[in-house]
Symmetry: C2
Subunit: 347 residues, 2 copies
DNA sequence: CTGAAAGCGCTTACAG
DNA sequence: CTGAAAGCGCTTACAG
């Protein structure tokens, strides 16, 4: 392995001169630079980034914690995140909680051991209330409230709920089935804002006097369960005339409806929540609430930027502690609008 | 930041003793260990992994270069890879070529700068013949022949082609449309083994006297193009009675067929190549050639293991150079069987 | 079994 | 504008 030392020797200059040339820092005379550069080329010198990382205590790597990217929602989100980070010269370390026996605590560990500069938390594991706030390193949550000081980016699920409810009410739905995660996540003080779309739909439909049942489809990582659930709906609720669920659930429900000879949208409407590619490849183009992946990813990246800037900032307690106390925003939350994309599965 | 030095001071022992305790290496007396451990706890010591990385010249990170994980094939593959690597305590660095303005050469750069221990190459960019072999660091290719010394793992596309052809012949297809990547990739000496399934199908259908047209669907990252292509088939070939393409293409083609009132499978058969989740969420369960993701990921990981072992090995030219010459396998290629999963879209 | 020393490869003040 | 020196935080021979 050829190092700076070798280059310095070959060029007949000092170590620091080589460093200056490599980093294009400070002033180096033209011929010094030339000598160094030709030596680098001749020896085929490649700087060892690890040494720099050690010195700077930075790896330019962000951990992206997802339940699993086998799920289209999370693969889409991750793809967009990766683009945002790459544009900032940040690497994306893929951290799945469902594909692995590793929980996110192992990833947090890696964060603290300085192998990552920050973490995007989009997995669904639950933790004691103070777990996240006690970490004191750059974390940004997606669609999770993790506690004071952990910024959140999420879609406007209330809006999503309103859009769905309006569609269903206007089209004269009579019996709606909502498919979603474990109802236990709906408890008071839940950390899952996602549920608000279900709650909103339920409330608005109730006000309109429309029957609405909720069916649990298992956790987001259990895709087989989604498929089974979607098929079972028709047994359990023979007179269902509208189904609302994730792209996966909606697609499978639509498929099952076709198998049973149920006319969509005449006798059954289907609305997908998420709006990934899968909503376009189902039996018909699904009417979908589209979460705005580019905007979500951009917002997450911007938040991450500032979290990192804050972290890299005053390592020693700043003299004006009071000022920073004043600055403490009460868990900044950024809400991204959604849109209803009309498809072929609603009236 | 509290470091080993602080722990040593607090425990009243030397630096190396702390190191031994932390790494659970060598012999440390019980009370020494106890003192150190309590000091670590009190100071809340967290080892800085960067320093270790520098010393060991290893990051335990594998770069996974994909065109884009927005495509279901690559997100599925990546999910499985991540599982395999995690089981080996290797991190997965997500490297997309299509989601980014970065080409894989930038990732190769990171490999050489020792920020990654190895690279899985599954993207589709072309390079001069000697590019890959000149890197001399752990690389394993998926479905790409990259040159001498770069192991390849791929599905048995010839078998895939045979399975498809047999299905089409046995069911009495008359006019088949094959949808795939740019035909320019089919040139002699191509580095894309994938094309062999098309070539095999074409040959076998020709022998059977069945008409077969090839339609280009754009690169794998251009999903919008796939969708457009799938719809256009019906205009271009009004009498098509079988369509073969990736999960995405097949799903969209099926959707379009339904829109046009074409009966599947009676008047049109559809076969999907890949067999991801998307093949299950289309309008009907797609008959699919399923690539064996778990086996592919496992094979890639095993190859990566040995590439890394070889790389970490004799840094200095070994005395028996001749022996290693003899050992040089001519580009090991591991071929994983595929399977035809019968669905509702074939007769 | 423990400690002082050198070193992983680079960076950055700091004298000249 | 250049060079000798200290240091990033840890590891590992190597004396004791």
């Amino acid at each position: 392995m050829v190092g700076m030392r070798d280059v310095a020797k070959a060029a007949g200059v000092s170590l620091s001169t080589v460093s200056l040339v490599v980093n294009n820092t400070g002033y180096v005379s033209a011929d010094m630079r030339a000598k160094v550069e030709s030596a680098m080329r001749q020896l085929n010198y490649i700087p060892n980034e690890l040494a720099r990382n050690l010195y700077r205590n930075r790896t330019n790597t962000i951990g992206v914690i997802m339940p699993t990217i086998a799920h289209p929602f999370f693969s889409t989100l991750t793809a967009h995140l990766q683009r945002e980070f790459a544009a900032r010269d940040l690497k994306t370390l893929l951290c799945s909680t469902a594909d692995t026996d590793k929980g996110e605590s192992e990833y947090i560990d890696m964060l603290q051991r300085h192998m990552m500069d920050g973490i995007i938390m989009a997995a669904h594991t639950e933790h004691p209330a103070d777990y996240w706030t006690s970490i004191h390193r750059p974390i940004v949550a997606f669609d999770r409230t993790l506690g004071e000081g952990v910024p959140v980016v999420r879609s406007d699920h209330e809006q999503g709920g309103r859009l769905i409810a309006r569609q269903l009410i206007d089209s004269g739905a009579r019996h709606v089935v909502l498919v979603g995660g474990p109802r236990s996540q709906f408890a008071e003080g839940t950390t899952f804002p996602t549920i608000r779309y279900h709650l909103t739909v339920e409330r608005l439909l109730a006000e309109a006097g429309i029957a609405c049942d909720y069916v649990e489809a298992g956790t987001v990582a259990d895709i087989a369960a989604h498929e089974a659930t979607a098929c079972a709906i028709f047994e359990q609720y023979p007179d269902v005339d509208a189904i609302v669920g994730s792209d996966v659930v909606a697609s499978v429900a639509l498929q099952e409806a076709s198998r049973r000879g149920i006319e969509v949208p005449a006798d059954l409407q289907v609305i997908a929540y998420d709006g990934t590619l899968m909503a376009e490849t189902a039996g018909k183009r699904l009417t979908a609430i589209r979460q705005d992946f580019p905007a979500i990813a951009a917002a997450l990246a911007v938040r991450m930027d500032s979290q990192i800037a804050a972290d890299g900032g005053p390592a020693s307690p700043s003299k004006n502690d009071s000022a920073s106390d004043v600055d403490t925003q009460p868990t900044p939350e950024e809400v991204i609008p959604v849109a209803l994309i009309p498809g072929e599965t609603t009236r």
